[in-house]
Symmetry: D2
Subunit: 153 residues, 4 copies
């Protein structure tokens, strides 16, 4: 099954990445809201550690800003300033509006809230959706297990 | 010397407090920006602990949102949502614009940046301006020392 | 009421301090066991911060090793090595044996367990017995409140 | 090359494990001293997390108490009480005396100090000797990488 990330805009990158473009590597998507304390205290710092831990040939991490409350307080300018001040360097997509309150990608992926960490394998299959905190030890093992799977033939 | 807090607006209160109105009590003013990591991780949680530790007859804590960068990203709506999500209940003033880049109160009080914790004694005299992190043990002692000074006669 | 500290031996000091010798200053006694995790993780680090925060003319901190379990594992040599490795510099008394399982000072002071932090005022009166964790902010305030009481006339 | 763990005694187990007995599984050996702060604060808690994270069919963790200072303070009774109080449940070996100051296994494995985390693969080959702190994320990945290697044929 093909998955899509519906972004209205990207920050921290000049291109407009697609999920298909990450095929061949394991991909972690940190789904967050800049005003969500659990995202600021736990999810985003862990995503930054992920980016520093794994080799870029095997693994990539991106952010997805999926706002489902306080829409007026979450402008593109606010997000850009937030990423700058918190030293978040990986590409971040702004989730597209959905038909209801939930943004489009968040709904398509059936996520429960933020922070969520979504893992895709080298073939682009969604393999995990972690809502809330995940211990570093278990997450490091889980990602390495995906990295060590046979590459697509 | 009289000190003034120049606010364009207050959140978390229906009134518009003045420094003079806190006379008779020790007052701590947490000066912050919602996009400043040191404020979010250290200054504001400490201010919340202050509010829970000291008796309201002796002591009060308020916030002062003093934005000197990323002005567009720090709207009143953004701040209100931030206070809601981080469970910050004490009154927060929005610092008035200054003549230059610095907001007016921040300039009048000669502060160096955020987070800053400013302490006023029962007579309304400014007694401390702490820039950056202050250990809880020393701060608890400093505030109690001000509380135990003789009340105005 | 006079209080006594019943020590069989002292470490980190060449003298044999008595409670009476601390009159005129506020005294904090950190009651601990070297094999008690709460003492190692919370009580003793806080006692070290106390020693660094308050002026020696107003305040002193000492330790009291009150062993009520694993007696064989808590020899004087073990304690000396423990204090050395954990960089604990303040004087530490070894509590005298009691008539039952509890050491003598611990029983005389009616303590519930370790860690306990016992505070004496400048007159030598016992003013607090905190069992378990105490927040730094509240403790800093409590000690300063005792320091600011009128000295004995 | 065959590696050996030279133990005078084991705690937390009725048997006397050998390295050969762990063949087929990845093995982590936490080398520690009960009076070493870095072991108590970082190494041993991480070893406890390891034991909770990986499946016992793939992985095992044991401790090795390798004392090279304060010998008198590190009796078997002290160690047993320490393991009980800190809730350390995995098997712990007491390293055999060496010819010099270093215990025998620590010298045979050419370790630099404590804490050290030594990793063996499913074939019993020593694959890593980490001295000091290792981030959980990297360690989780490293262990899973060893687990995912082909089993011996």
């Amino acid at each position: 099954m093909d998955h899509f990330l519906f972004a209205t805009e990207w920050l921290n990158t000049d291109s407009a990445p697609t999920l298909a473009g990450f095929r061949g590597r394991v991909l972690a998507v940190e789904v967050f809201q800049m005003l969500c304390p659990g995202c600021v205290l736990h999810g985003l710092p862990q995503a930054q550690r992920l980016a520093q831990t794994f080799m870029s040939g095997d693994f990539a991490v991106i952010g997805l800003h999926s706002v489902f409350e306080h829409h007026d307080a979450n402008s593109r300018e606010s997000l850009a300033a937030f990423l700058h001040e918190w030293r978040i360097r990986f590409p971040v997509a702004i989730d597209a509006p959905g038909e209801g309150a939930m943004p489009r990608t968040m709904e398509a992926w059936a996520l429960q809230g933020t922070p969520s960490l979504v893992l895709f394998d080298r073939q682009g299959e969604m393999r995990a959706r972690h809502f809330g905190q995940v211990p570093d030890l278990a997450l490091g093992a889980e990602i390495m297990s995906l990295i060590r799977e046979d590459p697509p033939s």
